[in-house]
Each structure stands twice: as C-alpha cells, then as structure tokens.
Symmetry: C2
Subunit: 193 residues, 2 copies
Amino acid sequence: MPSPRPLRADARRNREALLAAAREAFLADDDAHVEEIARRAGVAVGTLYRHFDTREALVAEVYRQEVADLCATPARLLAEHAPDEALRAFLLLLVEHAAVSRGMGEALESIMATDSPVFDDAREEMARALDDLLAAGVAAGLLRDGVTGRVLLRGLGGICSMRANGWQEDAIRIATILHDGLRHGAASAGSHP
Amino acid sequence: MPSPRPLRADARRNREALLAAAREAFLADDDAHVEEIARRAGVAVGTLYRHFDTREALVAEVYRQEVADLCATPARLLAEHAPDEALRAFLLLLVEHAAVSRGMGEALESIMATDSPVFDDAREEMARALDDLLAAGVAAGLLRDGVTGRVLLRGLGGICSMRANGWQEDAIRIATILHDGLRHGAASAGSHP
DNA sequence: CACATATACTGAACCGGACTCACCTTAGGG
DNA sequence: CCCTAAGGTGAGTCCGGTTCAGTATATGTG
C-alpha cells in the first residue's frame, strides 16, 4: 500500500518546494527555522506540517537519499580495497559528509547517537552496512572481533555532533584513532576482551 | 579582587540552596528546568539569575569541584600506573562519571565538544591534564605522538553526549577502541602521520 | 460545465523553556 | 532606628516548534 491515493497536484508541488527550500536552508547554515523554510517555499507552516510530522522528519527526508548512498558505500569500498582500508575510507567519508552542512551533521547524529524513531530505518540500514564492513575485516584477520555496527555507529555519533571551532581536523584525527583501535587486536594479533 | 564585597547573609544562603537544589535535580534526571530548580530552592527564577548568568553557568558551577577532581586524576593515575594503563583508567572514569547524572554528562559535553566560554577554564585545565597523560605515554614509547589533549578531549565529547538506549556499554567499548588506537603506532612501532 | 466534497492550505494561537526587568523587601552599617 | 544599597520577586518577553478551526481548491461525477 504505497499509494492509497496519489497526492493532489498542488500538494505534490508544495512538497517538492518544501524539500528544496529545506535542502537549501540546511546547506547555507543560516539557522533553518521551520517558519523560515516554509516562507522560502512560499507556503505556510501548517503546510509544512501537513507533509512532515516534525522538523526532524523533514531533516530525515531531505537526507534520505544521501544517507542511503552512504549506506551503500561500504559494499562498494569493500569491492575495491582491503577491509581495513575500506573502513578508514568510510570513516573519513562520514566526517566529510558531516562537514558539508549542519543539516547532514544533524541527520547523522540522529542516526548514530539517539533513539529517535524517525531515523529507525536509516539506523538499521547503516548498522547493517557497518556490520558487513566489520565482518569482512574480521574474516580477513585485519580487524578486531566483538565490535558491532551499532557500537561503531555510536562512536561515530560523537564525531558527527562536534560543531566546535576546529572540529573537522580533530574529527579526522579521531577517526584515525578509532580506525587504528579497530585494527589493533585483530585475529592475527590475538587479545579478545 | 576576589571579594569586592562579601555577599549579604540571605544571598549566600540562597546561593547555597540553589546549588543544592540544582545538584539534586541534575542527579535525579527528572528534567531539571530552571523554574523547577528555583522552586526547589524556595526562591524565584530572578534570584537564580542573579547568581548565575545562565543555566549553563549553573551546571558549570555545580560540577566545578567534580571536574576539578577529574582534572587532577591523570596526575594521580600516572603516579601509580604505566601511562597507557593510566589512560585506559581515565577514559573509563569519564564514562562512569557521565553515567552518574545527566548534568555531569552535560557538563562534560560542554567542556569537550563545544566552545561555550562558560567552560573555558575547565576546558583548558582538562586539556592540560590530558596533555600530561599523553606526553608521559609518548615519552615511554607507549602511546602515539601527535595527538593533543584538545583532540582527545573532543573525541571523548562524543562518548559523553551519548544518551541513547544502551549507551554505557557502547561507550566503554568505544573508549577501549580509542585507547587501543592511541597505543597503536607508538614510538616503538613507528608510523607517524 | 456545475457542483460536491475530499483534500489541502492558512496563520493566529499555543506551548515549553530559557531569560529579563520594573518594582518591592530587607540586611545591616551608622 | 532608619536609610539605602544589595537582594528578591514573578509576571512578562522571546524564541522555536507544533496545532487546529476556518477557508480555499483540485478533481471526479452527473
């Protein structure tokens, strides 16, 4: 039941306008108030709320595609690199994406460090992608065992939520440390917790 | 000029009451609204704001002592353990403290992952403490070089800001990974970035 | 084409929570 | 005692997200 009724023409138009306005507002990280987004879309707040249950839902929707792409990346990286290199690349990719816009950072943080049900799907998909990455690394004896995608997801949450002054540089450094930590104690070296 | 004028008796009493009420409210993590704290202290909001510029300042003050103790810990740990063990212990200690109360988590996060000027002192003190810890580890060839206290501070911010469901267990795991990451690539093993 | 009505839009109002300020109270020195 | 500056009060403001009664219109139908 994906289409109980196919959306009236004006409704579809407004929905698009809202998503576009939101995307734009989230990129230019002028504070993106709900009112402001509605105004930019040439629409009243009420309309925004007809289409999206909550501000958070709007964020989720705006970044849905991008997040989906992100979730598909590990598989692609695994096809081309050793699992540990794939992991490193993925971590840096996340930092980069978080840097692109405040909105994307918000989205990633909500996926990673909260329980907000709006992001349940994204969270699960992301955890699965990470699990694959980790499993491949473990199988190859390159990464330690016993770390779930969920744990790693939450570890990354910290990185994505950073907004302080020189955060990006620091985030990269931290991603590196996490990466090294996961390699440390790989099967070839022994030492399970 | 620490005491331009020594605070009137009732003022001092109220200040104490506010700190006590705040401490209590932050521990029982019932949402600790400013109004609620004032009420518990038997005082009006205005009075709260006479003593503390902002809610954040109140948080900072409540945890000032605790944070100071925390900042003193690395030195103590270094006196008793090898630097890498000291680091591990400190990371776990932080998780533990963040777990004690939402307020302490808030405080730690503000110290670590924001630029809020209210926490400038704490931040600097904490960074210095971490620098000592790191320097000792580097000198002993147990920890990698090139990581500043500030970077580590921010990495920990992620841990402290986690509030999702099974966060504590995950936080411990992540702390472990960070710890291993810092050991990996120590001087004895080479590999500077 | 008229019109019925489900669907959609509007925006003023509401709500929660941090913060302010014009006015009142009182501690405590002289 | 009493004067007055330090201190306290709490209704009110501000800010953002969210709601809902009232109004407009797209579209299927006769």
